[in-house]
């Protein structure tokens, strides 16, 4: 059927900031959708609050709104743009929920907007727990026994009837938020309260537990002609009980019989027809009893999802692109399969490899959090690997997560031999799902446990377990052979004089090891030698990997646009082109401190290379990203980002250079090793990078330029650290060198805290000293991003942090342009930036962090690479800075690129961060020098107040316009808070405060209600929060020690989604925002309009200069 002509303009909803459960997979899906609609000639309007996305690039849609994702704002956009249709299936749960609410509030009807991709009715059939079960029953599909509860009492009744253990699933929540497993009545009561609370509709499903069953997923698509295809099956290696987003997953399923597989396929077809998706896709999750084959359905997601992104990358079938085309009325037979170029998308992909997905967790950021995995998702990112067998894919997958492991153990990072014998701990770790379970399964085998024993503990299918066992056996085989060859060599050497390395491993066994994914690092560890030696041995034995394509069809058709993975087979299918090529190293799995911002930069690097007529080659292993989309680069290698894996690609492609500036810390950490192997690094030299990173060299650099640094020094022992702290005076900031996202960075106030830190720091980064800086209390932090061509430097943007110094720049709210800095300060900051760029001969991007206190400008950090703020600044200024930097790295000058003027914007942009505190119950929701945020949003408007208010709304802080405000601040802040309190009182808010704070406010003639602390009388503060009596909480931490009370107050506020401000600066900005919102309503404006105005003002500037 031809595409629909009654629709001309389509509104696409993005998924907002990166949070746990909703990451860059939706940027990937959304970007594909924008491109697909453009290809078909539709006008597109895009709304997303996340500026770090490719989809919000101004050329992706006709109109781009970086605005908060709320019903109010969307209504305004709809009113302004009058789209014919809305495509809600690309923005994750956020998009679906918004579409549902827009429909419920009559906005879709009012403006005659049709939901395409999935109708509002279809969404309800899939998402509404009750309707879903009913729908499944109608087609005879079993669901676990369950009941819907809207109150705790209802839930208790249902739960008692079904029997324990029980699974709780709140309706309409994301990534299993609020989900829990209850083993007894007491737990059930507690979890019910929370689950009802977090569900936006106050509804929870109390469900029979199918813990330990197999978890099988399918991606299914259907077009308006009723053609249905299965894109792939996926099998969760972790059985039911672990959120699929946290599970290790393989594609395709490995342990289903033909009959079972066909049964599942048939069920999927029935389900998508019954839910009635007419032009789109859905993810379907089943649980299967491993002993009887009994199947129940768990849930379906009638939209693009994390799983659909994984399925796309695993098979080469671009689900989002195809789903979008189906949404506008095309059918599967009409849409071309771009990988083969000849066949259509009406077929079912088949693979000739095994795909492995493994999650990246960030428990180290939240030491108080439990590392146990359950039905509430905790992973912040994931990596995908491909191999010709499970063992190879598994080991590559573990390497890809960049947790400094180089395979499944045997890499020098295992727990001590002593601990490896402690069967009790091992068994526990195997039984209770956790992020290290696979390593413990290996220890279990080494300690003599059998497949059946481990199966009984973990319920992980014996097939997976046996494969792990095979790896353990192979490791032993290698070790044995090495030992025997060594003794043989010793004997022979006496007679023949042979080199011992020749005999460290037979070529046959070496090849076998490589076929099963053993990395050079692992082999080096087992053979007690160096990685380089193994590389040499491989060269000698001519053992190199070949590259095989992901081609959707297992080799049946010739592929014109495949991507590649390495494996040890006989024939290489990745033919290097004759063009000049540049390799871009991506950022690997998302984590806190390294996320979508860097992927954005990598994509832009690729676009820029292609614009310059070079071939761009991407290496990355993150399946969620745009950088691993099949058409982002000329060629894509789905590979781990380790020295070994990157060198393999370099050997085949022979690029003229390699870009390491854009992928965050990952590429930088391996750049020196790559350079040693003769790989040319493009852009700023590694020596310059080292001058900026190495503290001693950095100090010399600053001295040379007469720039000021906070007093600082480096220490390698506690004794040294104490001496330094005494000298420069507490408080001091302490951190290990060479880390990203302020990992393990802390502000310490006395010797005891310093001692505690030093204990941890040694672990955080071995061989690297600890840095100790004077902490600048009450300073304003400033972030500057600039691009330089070795001679000239142009500043892209100067951002003022809203929170005072001491809070990690990744977590701090920022405003562009600076709103309190004097012109003189800005001028000096610019001058310093130019000087540093020149001295370091920066070729590419440069990020500098300054602190300003009493007219003194301190240099905190210089990073000659892409920073987290590059995409934000690009959106604010309308200039693609990462692209420009790439071209500069290729040798163009800024002048040639016509980038020689700095841009002054007349609008205001505020960046705000979002945090995963709600995922980690009991973790304190305060900010500090260690980065904790997972994502960011952008507020853009004509004034600071409006832009800030929008940033808060977009980050999920619902700014109240009236009601009750609780204020409780530390002594130093009591004076400063008076102004804020007065403002709030003037605006009509009722003030509540704890005794101490109340006293100060009363002295300033403010009317205050006393709120009792937790140990005082009830109702206390937590009661007030739980009862919904408060609308805003301003709470600054009590200096050096976090009181238990405060932690409880803050985490309760977070769980109840109550606006919480923990800094005075934040409070001031919030009140400013509230005041603006009361006086004037926010309006919406497309990015393209803002950018047009920038261009006009630029033209004017030039003219006035000319005359």
């Amino acid at each position: 059927m031809p595409k629909r002509k009654d629709i001309k303009k389509i509104l696409i909803i993005g998924s907002g900031p990166i949070v746990i459960g909703q990451a860059c997979e939706f940027d990937y899906s959304g970007s594909q959708a924008c491109k697909a609609l453009k290809e078909e000639g539709y006008k597109t309007v895009l709304v997303n609050s996340n500026p770090a996305t490719i989809m919000t690039d101004p050329e992706m849609a006709d109109r781009t709104y970086i605005e908060p994702l709320t019903v109010d704002i969307l209504a305004k956009i709809i009113e302004k743009e009058k789209p014919d249709a809305i495509l809600p299936t690309l923005g994750g749960q956020t998009g679906l929920n918004l579409a549902t609410f827009l429909s419920k509030e009559g906005i879709l009807d009012k403006y005659k907007v049709e939901a395409i991709g999935a109708s509002v009715e279809a969404i309800a059939r899939a998402e509404d727990r009750d309707l879903f079960r009913q729908t499944m029953r109608e087609i005879g599909i079993r669901v676990p026994k369950s009941g819907i509860a809207n109150t705790i009492e209802e839930g208790m009744k249902i739960g008692t009837k079904i029997g324990f253990p029980l699974i709780l699933r709140p309706a309409y929540t994301l990534g299993g938020t609020g989900g829990a497993i209850a083993y007894n009545k007491e737990e059930l009561r507690d979890f019910l309260a929370n689950a009802i609370d977090v569900s936006p509709v106050g509804q929870v499903l109390v469900e029979q537990s199918v813990l330990g069953w197999k978890e099988i997923e399918f991606e299914v698509m259907r077009d308006c002609a009723d053609n249905v295809i299965i894109v792939t099956s996926m099998e969760n290696v972790d059985p039911m009980g672990v959120h699929t987003g946290d599970s290790i997953v393989v594609a395709p399923s490995q342990t289903l019989t033909t009959e079972e597989y066909k049964d599942f396929v048939n069920l999927c077809k029935k389900i998508i027809r019954k839910i009635d998706i007419r032009g789109g896709g859905t993810n379907i999750q089943f649980a299967q009893n491993p002993d009887t084959g009994e199947i129940v359905i768990i849930e379906i997601n009638p939209r693009l999802s994390r799983s659909s992104a994984l399925a796309s990358k695993a098979t080469g079938f671009p689900i989002a692109r195809v789903a979008t085309k189906l949404a506008v009325g095309l059918t599967l037979p009409e849409v071309t399969n771009q990988i083969t170029g000849k066949t259509t998308t009406f077929f079912e992909p088949t693979v000739d490899y095994c795909v492995f997905k493994i999650c990246r967790f960030t428990f180290e950021k939240f030491p108080e959090a439990q590392t146990t995995l359950n039905t509430s998702m905790k992973a912040v990112g994931e990596a995908m690997s491909i191999g010709r067998n499970f063992k190879e894919a598994l080991q590559k997958g573990i390497r890809s997560t960049e947790i400094q492991r180089y395979g499944l153990g045997a890499d020098g990072k295992d727990i001590s031999e002593e601990l490896q014998k402690d069967l009790n701990i091992i068994k526990q770790k195997i039984k209770k799902p956790n992020d290290e379970r696979f390593f413990y399964i290996r220890y279990g085998f080494k300690a003599g446990l059998t497949v059946d024993e481990i199966y009984r503990l973990s319920k992980i299918d014996r097939w997976f377990l046996n494969n792990i066992k095979e790896l353990v056996e192979m490791e032993e085989e290698i070790r044995l052979q090495a030992t025997s060859l060594k003794s043989q060599a010793k004997n022979k050497r006496s007679s023949k004089n042979l080199q011992p390395e020749t005999y460290s491993l037979s070529p046959e066994l070496l090849l076998k090891a490589k076929k099963n994914g053993f990395s050079d690092v692992q082999l080096a560890h087992i053979l007690k030698t160096k990685e380089e030696k193994i590389r040499k041995l491989r060269k000698k034995c001519k053992i190199f990997p070949v590259f095989k394509p992901v081609d959707t069809c297992a080799g049946e058709f010739h592929a014109v646009q495949p991507y590649y993975y390495s494996t040890y087979e006989t024939k290489n299918e990745s033919i290097s082109s004759k063009n000049k090529k540049v390799l871009i190293l991506g950022g690997g799995p998302n984590r806190i401190g390294q996320g979508i911002e860097f992927d954005y930069c990598c994509c832009h690097a690729s676009y820029a290379l292609r614009e310059e007529g070079l071939d761009s080659i991407m290496i990355n292993c993150n399946p969620e990203t745009v950088s691993t989309d099949y058409d982002t680069s000329n060629k894509l290698y789905f590979e781990p980002l380790t020295v070994e894996d990157v060198l393999n690609v370099v050997n085949v492609e022979k690029p003229i250079g390699i870009i390491v500036q854009f992928g965050g810390q990952t590429p930088l950490t391996i750049s020196t090793a790559l350079e040693k192997e003769g790989v040319k690094i493009l852009g700023t030299s590694s020596d310059s990078i080292d001058r900026a990173e190495d503290r001693k060299r950095f100090r010399i650099l600053l001295n040379k330029l007469n720039l000021i640094q906070t007093e600082s020094d480096t220490a390698i022992s506690l004794k040294e650290a104490k001496e330094i702290a005494d000298r420069i005076g507490y408080p001091v900031v302490v951190r290990p060198s060479y880390v990203l996202g302020g990992r393990a960075m802390e502000i310490v106030y006395d010797d005891e805290e310093l001692g505690n830190f030093m204990d941890k720091a040694v672990e955080a980064s071995p061989e690297k000293p600890v840095l100790i800086d004077k902490f600048l209390e009450d300073a304003i932090e400033v972030d500057v991003d600039a691009v330089a061509d070795g001679k000239n430097c142009v500043i892209a943007g100067i951002m003022e942090h809203i929170e005072e110094a001491g809070i990690h720049s990744g977590d701090s709210a920022m405003v562009l342009p600076p709103h309190t800095l004097k012109d003189d300060i800005i001028k000096r900051i610019k001058k310093n930036t130019y000087a540093l760029a020149k001295e370091l001969k920066v070729k590419g991007l440069l990020n500098i962090q300054y602190a300003v206190r009493h007219n003194t400008i301190y240099i905190l950090e210089v990073n000659p690479r892409a920073s987290r703020t590059v995409p934000l600044i690009s959106k604010a200024t309308g200039v693609p800075w990462a692209k420009i930097a790439t071209k500069v790295m290729l040798g163009k000058t800024l002048k040639e690129l016509k980038v020689d003027k700095e841009i002054e914007i007349s609008h205001v942009v505020v960046k705000e961060s979002v945090f995963p505190f709600a995922r980690f119950p009991g973790v304190d929701a305060i900010l500090g020098p260690e980065m904790k945020s997972t994502g960011e949003v952008m507020g853009i408007d004509s004034t600071f107040g409006l832009a800030y208010a929008k940033s808060q709304i977009a980050a999920g802080q619902i700014l109240p316009l009236k009601g009750n405000v609780l204020i409780t601040v530390k002594d130093e802040d009591k004076r400063k808070i008076v102004f804020v309190a007065k403002k709030l009182a003037d605006l009509g808010f009722n003030l509540f405060a704890t005794k101490g704070t109340a006293k100060v406010l009363k002295q300033n003639n403010l009317d205050v209600n006393i709120a009792s602390k937790l140990h005082e009388s009830r109702p206390h503060i937590v009661d007030l929060i739980k009862d919904g009596k408060l609308n805003l909480i301003i709470n600054t931490p009590q200096g050096k020690l976090t009181k238990k009370d405060e932690t409880i107050i803050r985490s309760t506020a977070v769980l109840h989604n109550m606006p919480l401000v923990t800094t005075i600066a934040g409070a001031q900005a919030t009140v400013n925002g509230i005041e603006t919102l009361i006086k004037e309503k926010e309006s919406v404006k497309a990015l393209q309009e803002y950018h047009k105005r920038i261009q006009k003002s630029e033209v004017r500037n030039q003219k006035s200069e000319d005359s």
Partner: protein, 357 residues
């Protein structure tokens, strides 16, 4: 572990390790792209005499079980795989893959770069080949392949039933299957469709068939290259128009020949679970299971009453034909169950005369 080798007729050599029995066999080297189904394809008569390259690298994971056999025994002459699973893991498994291979006398080579082999078949076409665990001499192997010329590596009379066999005799709707390699799944579906089933040896003549009191006749799938199939075509010539006939796979070829069309070898056949077919002149289709190396020659379809009903969307080859007047229908794709024990809708249409068009 023994070494094993595969040599294609064009001289290409693939070395691996023996996973099945030892020995030597010649066969038509074909492939299978499904990620499940190894036991079914090994035991499907259509694969008699073939050496199958499994493109999915991990084989044997879920073991084997008697109930998954498509016929009384294994028919494939050999199997080429990447990695044999060391354990079988499924609650239904009765025997692991290795034992299954041994028990069924199957030669199997593992540790082969099956991807490269598949690409070679794609480029050079399916062809004869030899697998051996005892002779690794290139010249010898080549001679053995060349000597084979048109000799069959199996016997159709072993595949087909020996005598007329009746099943489910109490049912009223009587369906005959002319057996050139019928599968258990076809019989089971017909049972579910409440048919009285009469399985006829392929050599049964038309008089004998007419005497059976059949309402419908199905020509089963089977080995496509068998010379004796022309015999079946001749039998059909006398039956066409007298009884509704359905030809499946090779049965469709036989039927097409009886209708005057020609069959020709495709450059690359269709062997897997993921083939799209499209109803002629529409955008409506189905994903089908296919296993054929030969196809109906488009140019030979001169009879205007024969309509092409379905086409393969990938290469536009004919997948379904029909002569409405004579009530004959043919599908080159398999009419397997879609799962959940349901019958294939095409089979249902034929048996119950449902006209969905």
């Amino acid at each position: 572990m023994n070494d094993a080798v595969l040599m294609l007729k064009n001289g290409s050599i693939y070395k691996g390790i023996s996973a099945g029995i030892n020995g030597e066999k010649i066969g038509w080297v074909s492939f299978y792209t499904g990620i499940v189904g190894y036991q079914e394809v090994i035991s499907s008569p259509v694969n008699a005499g073939r050496i199958l390259v499994m493109t999915y690298p991990l084989i044997g994971n879920y073991g084997t079980a008697k109930k998954f056999m498509e016929s009384k025994q294994a028919w494939a002459n050999g199997l080429i795989i990447k990695e044999e699973s060391r354990i079988d893991s499924n609650w239904q498994s009765e025997e692991n893959f290795k034992d299954f291979l041994k028990k069924n006398n199957i030669l199997c080579i593992q540790d082969i770069d099956t991807r490269t082999l598949m690409v070679e078949l794609r480029e050079k076409g399916e062809q004869f080949g030899i697998i051996s665990t005892k002779d690794f001499d290139k010249k010898n192997l080549k001679n053995k392949i060349n000597k084979l010329r048109n000799k069959k590596t199996y016997n159709l009379s072993e595949i087909s039933v020996k005598k007329i066999t009746k099943l489910k005799t109490k049912q009223s709707l009587s369906v005959g299957i002319l057996d050139i390699g019928v599968t258990n799944s076809l019989i089971n579906q017909l049972k579910d469709l409440k048919c009285k089933i009469t399985v006829l040896p392929y050599k049964t003549n038309h008089n004998e068939i007419s005497k059976q009191g059949l309402n419908k006749l199905i020509i089963s799938d089977g080995p496509e290259m068998d010379k004796e199939l022309s015999l079946v075509s001749n039998t059909l010539k006398s039956l066409i128009g007298k009884i509704p006939i359905l030809g499946i796979g090779a049965g469709c070829h036989v039927l097409a020949k009886a209708l005057g069309a020609d069959i020709k070898k495709m450059h690359l056949g269709h062997h897997g679970l993921n083939y799209p077919v499209i109803k002629s002149d529409s955008l409506k289709g189905k994903i089908t299971e296919q296993n054929h190396s030969f196809g109906i020659d488009e140019d030979s379809l001169n009879d205007k009453d024969i309509k092409v009903t379905w086409r393969n969307l990938n290469d536009n080859t004919i997948e379904g034909i029909e002569n409405k007047k004579l009530k004959v229908t043919g599908y080159q794709f398999s009419l397997s169950s879609p799962g959940l024990g349901e019958a294939n809708s095409f089979l249902k249409e034929f048996v119950y005369d449902i006209d969905t068009r």
